[in-house]
């Protein structure tokens, strides 16, 4: 990344070639398998991603997997048909968000947040898109299945990791990722009286 351009070394050339050629994002382990015991693949990836930073194609890391993609500001040139690859329903969108911000999470927990049953098709669609996966069972009576997001989810939405989820820290800090019961306990301790709930009686 020091800008010593001109002649990339063999490691960079090999990384470049492998990542360009691959149909899937590649992990460091996969790259090591391809390139053999190359000196320092993580450093090479950083250097390469630095080199491509300002270009029309960028090298990015998503959930530990690396791939090349076109720069975001080139979207207008490349978006030939304006249709979204997967037009999610609102239910699908909310369900995906709930899973991403709460994972691992059970269907019942999703329903508690949405206040409505999760239609059978919703989870199927998200699963089919490759964005969510079953992630074990919760050790409570009934042992409900848990859901979590996948590496493809991070890849598709351009997130380096779950920590990059928009507003995750704020939501967590505001307690908005805690279940209502938990939040209630905290609130009640602080007493409800000063809340804005009853001061509008005079409004009408």
């Amino acid at each position: 990344m020091t800008g010593g351009e001109g002649e990339p070394d063999d490691l960079l050339r090999a990384l470049e070639a492998a990542l360009f050629a691959s149909t899937e994002p590649l992990t460091v382990a996969q790259l090591r398998q391809l390139l053999g015991e190359a000196p320092d693949i993580p450093a090479g990836l950083r250097a390469l991603s630095g080199h491509y930073a300002g270009r029309g194609v960028n090298l990015v890391e998503r959930g530990g997997r690396w791939h090349f993609q076109t720069a975001a500001d080139m979207a207008h040139l490349l978006r030939r048909d304006r249709e979204e690859p997967r037009k999610l329903s609102r239910a699908g969108m909310e369900t995906l968000a709930i899973i991403a911000y709460h994972e691992p999470v059970s269907r019942a927990e999703i329903e508690a947040i949405r206040g409505v049953q999760v239609a059978k098709g919703t989870l199927d669609v998200l699963m089919e898109a490759g964005w969510i996966r079953p992630a074990g069972r919760k050790e409570v009576p009934g042992r409900p299945l848990l859901y979590a997001t996948t590496a493809e989810f991070l890849t598709h939405f351009g997130l380096s990791s779950r920590r990059d989820l928009p507003g995750l820290e704020d939501l967590r800090a505001a307690g908005l990722l805690d279940p209502v019961d938990l939040a209630m306990e905290g609130m009640l301790e602080r007493t409800v009286t000063e809340s804005s709930l009853e001061n509008d009686e005079g409004d009408d």
């Binding site: 690859p85 911000y101 949405r114 505001a174 009686e201």
Partner: protein, 264 residues
């Protein structure tokens, strides 16, 4: 004041049915969804919404929807009943309030709406990101990486010769194996029983004629040979055999004349 009156009141209230109310009933994903949209229409921070106003709007909507002869989903009516209860509780003087307090119920509803709103916003922000295949694109025609699996078969020389040994062993005639077993031959047994019977004057168990301490295959061989030997000796008239019943112990004694017995 009954809930029905309440609803009628609200329906006739000055609140003009805004566009929210003209949208068909199916546009809402359940009561909470509807409530959230009503709350948002208050155009204030969700933290500062008036639950009471919200309840009124909801009941108003339900009444309006019913007037439009739309089929109401049970969920919405349950929520309407609950909200009507909440509203009446909130209007009661504090002293007459029941547990849980209406503040608590209102707070709970408030928290639920906040959470749903947070997730709805998060979902929208997710969808608005630079998405692969919509805003950013992977390589159009990647050559692809081909990984061919090659089995490296492993076997040691020992495995090889051991396998051959087993083939040979399995297919070899097995007669020699029997010869290796420790046995007591019939001749030996006749000689032994014949020699010992002279000293036993009373009925004696067959087993006591076996050599001391034999066991295992040799023991069984000795027993079998001795039994055959006893039959042979009986045939020669040298022993008497007695058995009380099937599988009972076999007893034998010297078939010598009784006089001899007394004499010794």
């Amino acid at each position: 004041m009954s809930a029905a009156d309440d609803m009628a009141d609200l329906f006739e209230s000055r609140r003009a049915p805004d566009e929210v109310l003209t949208v068909s009933f199916e546009s809402w994903e359940g009561p909470l969804d509807l409530l959230l949209n009503l709350a948002r229409s208050q155009k204030v921070d969700l933290r500062e919404i008036s639950i009471l106003a919200l309840v009124e709007q909801y009941l108003e909507f339900i009444a309006g929807a019913r007037a439009m002869k739309l089929e109401l989903a049970a969920d919405y009516l349950v929520m309407a009943a609950w909200l009507a209860y909440l509203k009446s509780a909130m209007l009661l003087p504090k002293a007459e309030q029941e547990e849980p307090s209406p503040e608590e119920l209102a707070l709970r509803l408030h928290l639920r709406l906040q959470r749903l709103a947070a997730m709805r916003d998060a979902g929208a922000r997710l969808m608005a990101r630079d998405r692969l295949g919509r805003d950013v694109f992977p390589r159009g025609a990647p050559e692809g990486l081909r990984v061919d699996k090659v089995s490296i078969w492993q076997a040691s020389l020992y495995d090889l010769i051991a396998a051959y040994g087993q083939v040979k062993a399995r297919t070899r005639p097995v007669t020699h194996v029997v010869a290796r077993r420790p046995v007591m031959t019939l001749d030996e047994a006749i000689a032994r029983v014949g020699r010992l019977i002279g000293t036993r004057l009373d009925w004696t168990r067959l087993e006591s004629f076996l050599p001391e301490g034999v066991s295992g295959p040799l023991g069984r061989s000795a027993l079998a040979s001795s039994f055959v030997a006893v039959l042979e000796l009986a045939k020669q008239g040298r022993v008497d055999i007695r058995q009380e019943g099937i599988f009972e112990p076999i007893f034998l004694r010297n078939a010598a004349p009784s006089g001899h017995e007394i004499a010794s």
